[in-house]
Amino acid sequence: MSRSIPRRSPLGAIQSAESPAHNGQLAERPFLTHLNLRLDPADATALAAVHRVLGIKLPLTPNTTTAGDDLMAIWLGPDEWLLLADHHQSDALLADLQTALSGQFASVVDLSAGQTVIRLSGPSTLDVLARGCALDLHPSVFQPGACAQTLLARAQALLIAVDDTPTIDITVRRSFAPYVAAWLQDAARHFGLSFPESNTA
């Protein structure tokens, strides 16, 4: 029933039947599934339970990700991960994980409506980000599969190196998304990049 209700992303995209991610160089990837997972990495039972549900192992090395077909597990802290799924079936994944982890000291929380992803791709990606991100994102340092939580301008952001185009996915909290989008738009103007017409904040 809930699926019939249109969703609105913080950057103005409204979910359509297909809801494909924009392939532009600067675009929102709305309506992905974002789950926050907490468990003790020393707890082999919990790790195994999660592995069974996700089909991938949780990254235990800081600032790294593991990826499956349409799912990515992102290291957020020594006992904290973000699960980012390329679909909007958050309820099902949430329920599966909660079932698998029931009775254990763990927490799975749905944050899908509270965050969004902005994708920046193309040769000027790193130049644009360098306008507001203090991290060294040079390909020799920040390779595909790496992630980092940091500040982008004056907002917290989670950066994920997707490929060596380079493409960087920027996860931000919902209420900060218009600011981050406006900021990226401003920084990217110099490089001739802008959000698609329908997707501006």
Binding site: S2, S112, A113
Partner: protein
Amino acid sequence: MSQPFRLDHGGRIDRDAPLQFTFDGRPINAYRGDTVASALLANGVTLVGRSFKHHRPRGIVSAGAEDPNAFVQIGHGARTLPNRLATVTAATPVLKVRHVNAWPTLEYDVMSVFGLAAPFIPAGFYYKTLMWPRRFWPLYEHFLRHAAGLGHAPDAPDPDRYDHVHAHCDVLVVGAGPAGLAAARAAAHTGARVILVDEQAEPGGSLLASRERVDDLPGPDWADAVTAELTAAPGVTLLPNTTAFGLYESNLVLLAERLITDQPDSAGSENGARVWRVLPKQIVLATGAHERPLLFANNDRPGVMLAGAISTYVRRYAVAPGSRAVLFTNNDSAYRTALDLTDAGVPVAAIADVRTDPDGDLPSEARAQGIPVHPGAVVRHAHGRGRVAAAELCSLDGAPLGAIECDLLGISGGFAPALHLHAQARGPSEWDPMLAAFAPKPGRGIHPAGAVAGELELAAALRQGTQAGSAAAAAAGRSNGSEPEVPRANDSAQAPIQPYWLPPGNLARAKPQFVDLHEDVTLDDLRLSLREGFESIEHVKRYTTLGMGPDQGKLANPLATGVIAELLGRDPASVGTPRHRPAYSPVSLGAIAGRHIGPLADPVRVTPMQEWHEAAGASFENVGQWRRAWYYPQPGESMHQAVARECLAVRHRVGILDYSTLGKIEITGPDAGEFLDRVYTNAWKRLRPGRCRYGLMLGEDGMIFDDGVTARLDDQRYLMFTSTSNAAPVLAWLEQWLQTEWPDLRVYLTSVSEHWSNIALAGPRSREVLAAAGTDIPLARDDFPFMTFREGQVAGVPARVFRISFSGELSYEINVPADRARHVWEALVDAGRPFGITPYGTETMHVLRAEKGFIIVGQETDGSVTPDDVGLGRLLSRRKDFLGKRSLSRPDSVRPDRKQLVGLLTDDPAQVLPEGGHVVDSPGPQRPLPMRGHVTSSYFSPVLGRSIALAMITGGRAALGERLHVATLHDDRWLPARSCHPVFYDPQGARQHV
């Protein structure tokens, strides 16, 4: 128009690209590649400004950022650039350059009377006078203020924007002179990521004006070749026109890049700047050295110029800064200038050399060219007013050697390493007697090379640069095993300098001799300072203002160290130098601010309903970074009327409030209850799932920190609401206790503030509206009682609904995922239309809660308020410890006359008390007047038809009903009122239970 002082050939200007700009309205002809200064000199303009204090005529002294005189105003209006240095400003067309600090004209400056009064306005004169009569000081000050200052600020907001870039590299090379170029090349050779910056328009530094050859190429050509090589090298970023202005801890280096443009809308040569924030692994400091001026009477006359600058103008800009020169030196470098001038056809009438036996290669060459050299001689006096007309020479023992006519007087007192950046980072340096200057020693991750390291000879600087580049790359973890080749140069051996600080004997008495040209600090000023006991270099600086001008004393400070040492009879090393502070060269505030201005100044956070609020005509208020709907005025309504309408709608019908900004934290784990017991004042473990409870959180000092409702979602999960502005601080506070103090507690905290939007439906008809919007949650009073929560669907969206109330009415706080909140909001508004649903904002929320006597943390409390102070002592558990509990039994916490929350009712029901107004027992004119407390919240209550107020009053609770008076803030009136219980409406709380 002619450029009388432009040389026929040579230089690095582009003679195919002539251009014109104006100086004080006069056209100045120039070529691409000129600076404003070189063009002015080419056009024969030598008077460029008036000095800061004495308004003496001043000319161009240097060819770089160290110039103390060449400050000009560029452009007009919003884009004007005050106090720019002509010596570093590129000449571009449409540039409008004006003098500063003179009126009505540069030539006839009224304020030059200060020059005549100079004997009576020595350093610090203002400390000794202008004290009487006392009431005249503002007048004196007005005059001082208008006499001071330099350029003019723009008169309208800056239309330009500035870029910021973060950069990382293995090796940052500061300075692209011979050492810097060699270092960058050596570092790049290893494959390192290299950034090379130089403040000049093109790399090369001293090579661009050098006579020497490097690797068998003329110096400038070698610089061009290396520049081309570096430009092509992967991993190398070359930044000309870029000044490294600050070196901070962690070896963070700040660069200011000047973006040159000829756009017609640009009034200046710098209509944009980009600040680079570089975090290099290693730094090669190749910042060169500044030539030191020399003391003699009238050493500030236009036409007195640093010898090295003369060479630069001649060789690099093809400009002869004069038609007949005298040089005064204590080292070999001025001889190079003599040769350069001779080559350019400018006669050198004499070289006065302090040294009795100048015998190096260069002096020999000068002599061979027939240039008259006077060993053991000094310039004692410069003749001429608007410009040097002659230099009067004498021997070191004072014997006159006659005046020699000249319009150019080149001086060289040796070289002081530009160790500013190094010193900013507290890099070590030591007095080098061979240089007669402080020279840096290598610091953490910092490799000085070339002139800054005291290496003034070209071949050696190239070698040192190469070594520094290799060493820096290796220290950054880069090496390819092979040693880079060291460039060869054919420069000549130099003879040592002879330090010359004070003119000998009586010559030192001649006036005026300027140590700091910009600040008009003379030798006599230094003497006076020392005489009055201001001996520490920092005291001298502060007393005389030595080095405090926009040139940062680049020329003055190294000279002053030697002069003070000699006046005090001490070693210069013990005198030291004033502390170097960022910025090396001034940087505009806008460039430092970057793009954090205008709409990007600070994030503006909005809820998913923002567009709806805007369409409904809401007024907004800023609450931290959030923008919240404040009230919704209908056409023609005042704020007061709108709020009254909204309040009555909630009390009589139903209102809807966007309450999404509240913080929300999920607290999960077997010990969640225990955790809440420790952080809240009341008990939580036994709260049943499905129920809610109000909690108070204290700091360890016992003062209220935050409040809010927490619900028990299930056995091991709670959901905590925090106040809007405390959302982040509360989460950080909870995590801190959990991680640092109680790691044994099995609890996870996750912020869900952004996932769940919160829509408050309040008023007697709210149940009907919720039912009409469609929900599977049974809503009957007994099915869903006050202070419980239910999960279900609302308007087709999964929801958590809380039967809690901040208005005292029947109320539902409906949490739905933020991506569907707008849908639910609209569904509720649609469903509520038949019931007269009214959107209300934060102002109405405040009035409603005040009618109920509910506190707002930060409004009723201010960090000095305990739970008992606001009447919430019943929430303090006696059976357990909690954060802050111990502080509540300290003597001051149990003082009977603490301020307590009470209500206030004015005698005149229409009179709304001023928030912030203070409360007294009996009004009177005496001051100070004893105060009882202050009004924290005050509104007109529409439902009560009168004003209400909350106040914190000493001993207030024990004396309810007492007569008090509140002071107004604008006029001296007193408003009588009586104190009362702080719940004004529905004191039994019946309405929220219906």
